[in-house]
Symmetry: C2
Subunit: 249 residues, 2 copies
C-alpha cells in the first residue's frame, strides 16, 4: 500500500471514530546534551515532519485524547502534559492534503489544541506508527533545516514561549532534568528555555535562594577533573516555590 | 415564540452557519467598587446564567469568532482577549438541552475554547441578544448565589486562576483600572485577583520599584478628606516590566 492509499484508508476509519474539526498536537520537549529537543514524526505521505498529533474520539474526554494520541503515534506514556494554546486559523490544515478530494477526513478544517509535554529523554524510545517512517527527537537548533508541515513550526514556537513564561510556576526543571544533575547543567536548561545566556553567579544565587535543590553526598567522576557537585530537586520545597512563583506579591 | 421554539429555530440556522463541536466562551472581567465582576447572560430558556459564548463560523478564524460572539451576544467590542483553556469533557454540554432531540445543533458535544477578556467597566453597557433576557455584570462574590449552566462555573474559576498566574506578565492592571487611580485602588485590584490581603507598605514598595506608574499633578477631592494622590500607568515602562516579568532570570 503506498502512502496515498494509506491516507484514504485512514480517512474511512477516522470518519467512524473521531469528532470532525478538532485535533490535538502535543509538543514533547526533552533536554539532552545541554540542548532542548522536540519529538517529531516524519510522515510516509509527503515526507514532511509533523508533531505527533491526532484526533479526538467520540467517547474521549479531550485530555484523554491527547494521552492516547501520544501513546499511539510515538509510544510515549506517563508524561507531564498541559494545554497551552489553540490553533484555529481557517486554512491551517487543508492545504496539506490538497491533492485529495474534499471528502477526505484529514483534509477538513481542524482547530487544533496544543499541549506541551516534558520528558526526561533518557527514559524514552520513540516508536513510529504505521503512517510515519520515523519518530525522532529533533534539536531545536536543527528545526530551521527541516520541512515542517502545516503550521507546526508556529505551534512549536508558541510551546517554547509557554515554557519561558511558566519556568517559575510549573515543574519544568523537575520534569526535564535527570534525577541527579550539576548546577551548570541546570543553568544550561534555563538558558535554553529563556533563549539567552545567564550570569553564572546570579543564577547560582537565585536558584539557591529558592531553596529547591538538595546537594547530594555523591559526586560524578569525570577523568582527572575535579568532580562536580551533584544536586536533586527537593520536591516538597520545589512545589512550594512554584506556588510562590504564582503569587509573589 | 416561546424560548423552546426559539432554541429550535436557532438550531436550524446554526446548522448552516457553524462548525459542529466547537464553541468559544469568553470570560469578561471588570473591576468596580473594589471588586471583580464577570459578564453573564441569563438565557430565556431555563433562566440559567451562562457566559456569553457562541459558535465558530465556517469562514471565521477562531480568534475572529470570539470577537464576533462577544459583539453579538453582549454588545462588547475593543476588548483585550486571550485564550486560557479548553474545556473538553465529553458530557459537558449535552445535558443542558436534554429535553430536546439529539438532532438539535446546540445539544451536540462541544469542546469549548475559553478566552479571558479585560474591560474597563465604566465604558461598557452590556446589551442582551434575542435569546437572553439579561446581559449583566455579576460580582464574583455573588456567583455562589446564582445558577450557572453547564460547566461555566469551572470556566470562570480557571479564568480567575489565569489572571492570578499572569498578573506580572500581561497588561491586566492596565486593562482593568480606569485611566486615573489611587494606590489603594490598585492594591484592591491585586488583592481581588490574588484572593488575599497584601501588606500596604510591601505593595507600595514593590509597585513603585517596578517603575510602571506615573504620579499625576492632579488630585481627587472627596469631601473634607485629604485628597489622595492619583496615578496612571506609564505605558512604555509598563510593557517593559511585563517583558521582564516573563524573564526575570
Amino acid at each position: 500500500m503506498d502512502s496515498r492509499e494509506q491516507i484514504l484508508q485512514k480517512s474511512a476509519e477516522a470518519k467512524e471514530l473521531y469528532l470532525p474539526h478538532i485535533s490535538v498536537d502535543p509538543v514533547v520537549f526533552g533536554f539532552d546534551q545541554n540542548e532542548l529537543k522536540v519529538l517529531l514524526v516524519k510522515m510516509n505521505y509527503k515526507k514532511q515532519w509533523l508533531l505527533p498529533g491526532g484526533y479526538v474520539r467520540q467517547d474521549d474526554d479531550l485530555d484523554e485524547a491527547v494521552v492516547r494520541v501520544l501513546k499511539d503515534r510515538a509510544g510515549v506514556t506517563d508524561v507531564f502534559l498541559e494545554e497551552f494554546g489553540v490553533f484555529g486559523r481557517k486554512n491551517r490544515s487543508q492545504l496539506y492534503f490538497e491533492e485529495f478530494d474534499d471528502s477526505l477526513f484529514q483534509k477538513q478544517r481542524f482547530i487544533s489544541v496544543g499541549y506541551y509535554a516534558l520528558y526526561n529523554s533518557s527514559e524514552i524510545n520513540p516508536i513510529a506508527d504505521d503512517v510515519s517512517e520515523a519518530c525522532e527527537w529533533v534539536y531545536l537548533r536543527q528545526l530551521p533545516e527541516i520541512i515542517l508541515g502545516m503550521d507546526h513550526r508556529e505551534i512549536i514556537e508558541k510551546a517554547l514561549l509557554t515554557l519561558r513564561e511558566k519556568i517559575s510556576t510549573k515543574p519544568i526543571g523537575y520534569n526535564l532534568m535527570p534525577e541527579k544533575f550539576t548546577l551548570p547543567e541546570l543553568q544550561k536548561l534555563y538558558e535554553a528555555i529563556l533563549g539567552k545566556s545567564l550570569n553564572r553567579g546570579n543564577f547560582y544565587r537565585k536558584i539557591k535562594n529558592l531553596n529547591v535543590l538538595k546537594k547530594l553526598d555523591e559526586q560524578r567522576y569525570v577523568g582527572a577533573h575535579r568532580a562536580p557537585e551533584l544536586y536533586s530537586f527537593d520536591i516538597e520545597n520545589y512545589e512550594k516555590a512554584l506556588e510562590d512563583g504564582l503569587n509573589n506579591w
